[in-house]
Symmetry: C4
Subunit: 300 residues, 4 copies
């Protein structure tokens, strides 16, 4: 079912990654900048992530012996610096996730560059070094951000939905890897209830909300593909939900031949196969469209 | 339960069609014309359709030996011309689906005619000949479009919900066939998560999202009716979802007496029965209402 | 669990009513009065009700030997007059449901009276006589409408949610019966997909969409209460959905001691118990509030 | 899974509370202040709570011998005073829930203080004494409200989501307890269908709507934590739904070692452990942010 499957290390049938976006309370500050400091309920809902959920998640990872990727807006890296240290101590990866979860479609041009680079300097101060991967807030990566990623030597982005497995984005003669996301494996639709951000859905029971994720895994496993969850500590790190994920992890590790890895490791693996000529990744050339597709007059 | 069931070829108990609307990234260009070229996430989400999903779907169809219908906006026909060639090589049908998925309620009058006919000329250039069928973007067919369909010799429309089985639309003394759709068999409600288009629903698990479709099939099968899915490659062509459909197809073909066909074949069949006097389709006379139903003052 | 259950005829454990609101295409004309006549998709979706679904429903009722209530906007009574005749021939009841499904909260004052009474005169012309019951479009009955119901000698309203079983509304010394509705037994939330009216939910599978209804029935049956579905032919009369209801009806009639009746019969029964002193209905005195509850300045 | 579990009385494995917010029809008066007195449908939907559901709930509590907490806007306390008396007679607790369910984020400053204190004086007149706990309407507690709680000697708030178990909020050197809520145990998402307040979801079947709640309980029970439902009589007190809760209560009390208690009792227990040095609650220092987090210019 997958045209060009990547041969995984040690003959594993599938590569898997659980990626947590630690947005914490950045979301309400962006959604309601005028009075978010007075909105204690969404602040507390977000803070549950780094304060309560992340230690729980790290404990599970430690017990199971896996290392995974986290994406964190720089403002959150700063606010919750001790949590970042614990993540790094566990051997996990922290990627760039904007300055304060600002939508890159909104902050274009000079402002985008300034925010992107301020985030890098906060990252360096708290985490040391620089991130190898990036995920755009609300997935809204722009061509300008791709340029910034290339300029700053990033190895990969993880914001697009163009394939089931990692592929390449080429722009201006350079390329970076793309580790694709998918709405069917994102915990926002089943679990977010956040009126200030436009979500008033039924909150799914833990046993139901991840059912689709696990069916995606089963399909990817059968096809020798790649399975990634895009989840948030304040949602998926809640007690009853994390039990579901934890049990799935335990069961999968015990019964399946799966490679759980950080995204940077997955990208390194693909790149090494590419260099040795064992594998040729699919490549998308950017920009898809150099200018507006529908001319102003036609668009009404 | 169906008043005037159509006798299907070879005594089949039910006619079935899987119809894919390949909207690809046209949707974001229409939804956000000002900056859609910078919105890489929805572009990539849409491109997954022709790039990844359609080859997968065609492979299944080939293996199972069925031919089906696709509806494609002309802009997508042009952008993804090699994919169209593969569809046609497989013996499938490509129908008219607007110029770039513009809503016909918005583009009325001269603009509608121009878009409709520009789409025909792109179709001719890429696909050869002209389409026999039409499906309106967002189902919003207007009386003007019905006139255009009749003027250009179309055989059928597939945008309305007035019956369970194909029927006729008569306007100005001419008629075309209507192959009716239904929200209960459209993959947009269970699977689309597309904030820019107003969809922020829970994304259903693959095994759940099509459950209602299959119950519709069971009811139509029992009644000797007609069952059609209205689906999109970027949604239904995702790996785990397509496995569900594929298995249903395999199981249904193995255990039921069903006629899987292109919509043009289904219409031809109904028309030949009509000509031989074996069957009289139900007919709706258009326009339903020559002018506004609620006068301006009454409507506030 | 019910404080003052009504003793039902012949010792039945529960009274049941399936009430269909035949809104047909009135909904789109009210939602988009400027161009609804050009919107063939929602027109056809609505017309499915009287054209395809109502004959199906009447056939089931006839086979099972039950008589039920329908509520129809007068404009639809006029447009689909032959369908109304068939309903009345079957011994069913047709109630007042506005002139063209206008929201009574919007059309207050003289306009409300004019619409209400024009509906009565259309009713008289097509159906003969006058309706005994009323259901407000979108349930939005106002005190003014209650006055009109009393003035015109109506026996009941069915728009409110103040109890599990029928009760009384008193206003200005007179009273009428209230046969209460409930969102948990309305087919709009599980099945409507109607962007023009603000509904873009997942369309539930037929087997799932009525599950909550049937649980409500089970609870009412156990408590000796009253169970009513508020459904629409264009939704619940679809083939696969009506099969679910039909099977539930068959099974319930075969295995339970239930009184299926028209709402006017249910109200007559309660009134006769009231007159004989065997039962005292709960009574709400209107208006609940003679004027605005939150004064303008306090409401911002 | 819980870092610092609270030892519960008599070795119980989990503390549980069912908290009902009796908002009644206050919601529609706040949502549509201009004409809510004419909106009989939402008024009746809300009145079902105190009129029909609360007596049912109290009967269950009495039979099972448990005492629980209710939160009621003062306007509702006044309107439904006899219901409040019955609640207090049953040994239950009534907490502060605003004056008329006004959103504290909207009513800041002098208006907030005035509303808060007017609510206290209504409470005193109807209920006697003063409330020990507070829950903010729509959970939107502000730093100003925390100050008011401390100033008026409240023992706890129950509006935030920062932890699984009770913790402390410190502000200006004083602290009160926080008994945290969670969207996964709130009946609004699965059951509210209230267009005037922006909710048009599918109404979940009773057996499905609480499934997630019970999974949360199971997880908390296993971890020795705290489980609280945040429910509303007009939703959860409906017949079929209350049967689900009642059966769960009966089954849980029969088979598990759980402490069902009022929130004030739970807070008292935690405080007594704190004083005896047996337990140190986690503490959050307020304000989280003394001023706007994103400066005006950066926020666009």
């Amino acid at each position: 079912m997958i045209q060009n499957p990547i041969p995984w290390p040690n003959g594993a049938k599938c590569a898997c990654a659980i990626t947590f976006d630690i947005d914490a309370d950045s979301l309400i500050h962006v959604a309601r900048p005028g009075d978010s400091h007075n909105r204690l309920y969404p602040i507390s809902m977000g803070k549950y992530g780094p304060d309560i959920a992340v230690p729980r998640i790290l404990e599970t990872y430690k017990r199971l012996g896996i290392k995974q990727s986290f994406f964190v807006p720089a403002w959150c890296i700063d606010q919750y610096a001790p949590v970042m240290e614990k993540i790094l101590e566990g051997g996990h990866e922290i990627g760039h996730h904007g300055l304060i979860h600002e939508d890159p479609i909104v902050t274009m041009g000079d402002r985008q560059r300034a925010a992107f680079e301020e985030a890098l300097s906060i990252y360096k101060r708290v985490c040391g070094g620089k991130p190898r991967g990036y995920r755009a807030p609300v997935y809204n990566i722009t061509p300008q951000v791709v340029d910034l990623l290339i300029e700053h030597g990033f190895d990969y982005d993880s914001s697009l939905m163009g394939d089931d497995i990692p592929y390449l984005l080429e722009k201006g003669g350079n390329n970076i890897a793309e580790v694709p996301v998918h709405w069917g494996c994102d915990d926002w639709p089943p679990f977010a209830h956040y009126e200030e951000i436009g979500y008033v859905n039924h909150v799914q029971p833990p046993s139901v909300g991840y059912q689709g994720f696990f069916e995606e895994f089963d399909a990817q496993y059968e096809a020798g593909g790649f399975f990634m969850m895009i989840v948030h500590p304040f949602l998926t790190g809640r007690l009853a939900r994390w039990r579901v994920i934890e049990k799935w992890l335990e069961n999968t590790m015990a019964t399946k031949d799966v490679w759980f890895a950080r995204l940077d490791e997955i990208v390194d693996h693909m790149r090494s196969l590419e260099q040795s000529g064992e594998y040729t990744p699919r490549k998308d050339i950017l920009p898809y469209y150099p200018e507006q597709v529908i001319r102003a007059e036609a668009a009404e």
